[in-house]
């Protein structure tokens, strides 16, 4: 009866791991057998070694980037949900402001980032704002859609019981919107990280607050390709963890009732 509580089938975990091991093995074999120079394509073992030797530098930078992305995600959630709540108050408000939210979304962040960095004195704040601009759109659009996607008969039921506007919002609209919100959050979490990295590229901030993007930039210039790969691995890993956390969060929140959690394994 309850698929969500059954253990995940083993092959669904094993299969991707097998693929990863296969690809890494082929990559290793190719670099060794073909004698590919490390400054072009480092072997997986070299990348792994670099991750260890440069750990201090790389993980400090990872911390910077992740902290920017997390702050941006938090801000995008708060602001995005607030905007969605305002939007559903009236069709007029939504009609008036939606084009500008879309405008913000379709303008490439690399084009806006320099402006934000110029206008905002504190670079860290500027980077967070850039990432917010990228991450906020799915939260706003999905949450708005969710707040509107309420069973009209439940609305009738609430009306017949003389529910206040507040009761309708709190007991009906917000729970109805949760699955949509989590869908938006899933996308936004990845976008926040991308936004943070892109903004760092544009800002090119080094020194104490250097993020992973700066390490990639510098490693590229210095032809320190193993370090570049190592930084790349860390960013990707961070992205996977972000995504996985939001999936987990949505599963915990919706496991008892939402269709999306029924057949997922």
């Amino acid at each position: 009866m309850n698929a969500a509580r059954e253990p995940i089938e083993r092959w669904r975990i094993v299969a991707p791991i097998v693929v990863a091991i296969g690809v890494l093995a082929l990559w290793q074999a190719w670099t060794v057998l073909d004698d590919v120079p490390t400054y072009l394509v480092p072997s997986p073992l070299v990348v792994a070694r670099t991750l260890v030797t440069d750990a201090g530098l790389l993980f400090a930078s990872l911390g910077v980037t992740v902290s920017i992305a997390l702050k941006a995600l938090a801000l995008a959630i708060v602001a995005g949900v607030a905007i969605a709540l305002v939007f559903v108050q009236s069709r007029w408000i939504e009609a008036a402001f939606t084009p500008y939210v879309v405008l913000m979304q379709v303008t490439p962040i690399v084009a806006i980032a320099p402006l934000i960095i110029i206008w905002v004195r504190d670079t860290q704040v500027a980077l967070v704002l850039c990432a917010v601009v990228v991450a906020i759109f799915p939260i706003v659009s999905d949450t708005t859609l969710g707040l509107r996607s309420v069973d009209p008969r439940l609305i009738d039921l609430f009306r017949m019981n003389r529910a206040t506007r507040w009761q309708v919002l709190w007991r009906l609209r917000i729970p109805s919107a949760l699955p949509y919100f989590f869908g938006g959050l899933r996308i936004a979490s990845g976008l926040a990280l991308i936004g943070a990295v892109v903004a760092e590229f544009v800002a090119g901030t080094g020194g104490q607050g250097a993020g992973l993007a700066y390490q990639i930039l510098m490693a590229g210039i210095q032809l320190n390709i193993p370090r570049l790969f190592a930084a790349l691995v860390l960013i990707t890993a961070a992205g996977v963890v972000f995504y996985g956390s939001t999936v987990l969060l949505s599963r915990v929140a919706l496991r008892h009732w939402h269709e999306s959690q029924l057949d997922e394994r």
């Binding site: 309850n2 008969r153 017949m160 019981n161 729970p175 939402h258």
Partner: protein
């Protein structure tokens, strides 16, 4: 033995205390110009089981929505216990509705769903606890009160929906084709249970259906509606004692009522008036 309840208070003079809802010359025209309802006169009497019967598109759901106060009539008027809609909701004037589908909140357990009307009215906690347990027991779901809606079958979800409607002891229960989406067996069983609830709890029910057999089995009175535009064409009293069992379903009297109703519906769909048929009893 339970005292018999019979239909048949059919005199024109109804005192205000006997009337639950009075619909007077009420019409409904949608904004796009569709006439959903031609002038309708209908009294809902206290304690009766009134069924509104008709084919699809005859405005029976619209009429129910008017009675529920969810729609305002385009012209004409309605009175609830002799007063305006604004006065409903107080003790002795409570409305409840059961929809075509269970319409449960999937994020809330069975008991939280049933509790909703009391929670919205901010009823005292202990009183609400008792009423919820009582209503859930009444529909036979006592073991399932901590379950989630999706763990229940369609019929069980409908019972939850009925428990939710009964939880604040409504003085008028409105039901919009509640069992239409269920399989035949579940539907027959729930019909029987509903008739028992009506009798034992002395409910007043307005029940919308397009099933003639359901109408005959349940009702004390059937109002037949016709389509395009929706209008009331006849009222038929089902003057049979309750409780009605399987024997009634198989009786010739049951078949007689069913045939009469089916002729009325057929004529309504043919666009003719109910000529030569038992005249409408409404003024």
């Amino acid at each position: 033995m339970e005292p018999e309840r019979r239909a048949g208070r059919q005199g024109p003079a109804l005192s205000a205390s006997e009337l639950a809802v009075a619909v007077a010359r009420a019409t409904k025209t949608w904004p796009n110009g569709t006439r959903a309802l031609d002038p309708v006169d209908l009294d809902v009497r206290r304690g009766e089981f009134l069924t509104i019967l008709g084919p699809s598109g005859c405005g029976k759901s619209t009429l129910l929505h008017l009675i529920a106060g969810l729609e305002a009539p385009t012209s004409g008027r309605l009175a609830w216990w002799g007063g305006p809609f604004a006065a409903t909701g107080a003790a002795g004037r409570r409305l409840a509705m059961v929809f075509q589908s269970p319409t449960l909140m999937p994020w809330a357990r069975v008991n939280a769903n049933v509790r909703l009307p009391l929670a919205l009215a901010q009823a005292p906690r202990e009183e609400a606890d008792r009423a919820v347990a009582d209503a859930i027991w009444l529909v036979g779901l006592a073991e399932f009160e901590r379950h989630w809606p999706r763990e229940l079958s369609g019929g069980m979800q409908m019972r939850v929906s009925i428990a939710r409607a009964l939880v604040n002891h409504p003085d008028l229960l409105l039901m919009d084709e509640p069992f239409g989406a269920l399989d035949e067996f579940t539907r027959l069983r729930l019909d029987g249970e509903l008739a028992d609830l009506w009798r034992k709890r002395e409910l007043t029910i307005v029940f919308v259906t397009h099933s003639i057999h359901e109408a005959v089995f349940l009702s004390t009175r059937v109002a037949v509606m016709g389509p395009r535009p929706g209008r009331l064409i006849a009222e038929v009293a089902i003057d049979e004692p309750h409780p009605r069992g399987e024997a009634f379903r198989l009786s010739t009297r049951f078949a007689g009522y069913a045939q009469r109703l089916s002729q009325l519906v057929a004529q309504a769909c043919g666009g003719e008036t109910a000529d030569g048929m038992p005249a409408a009893e409404a003024p």
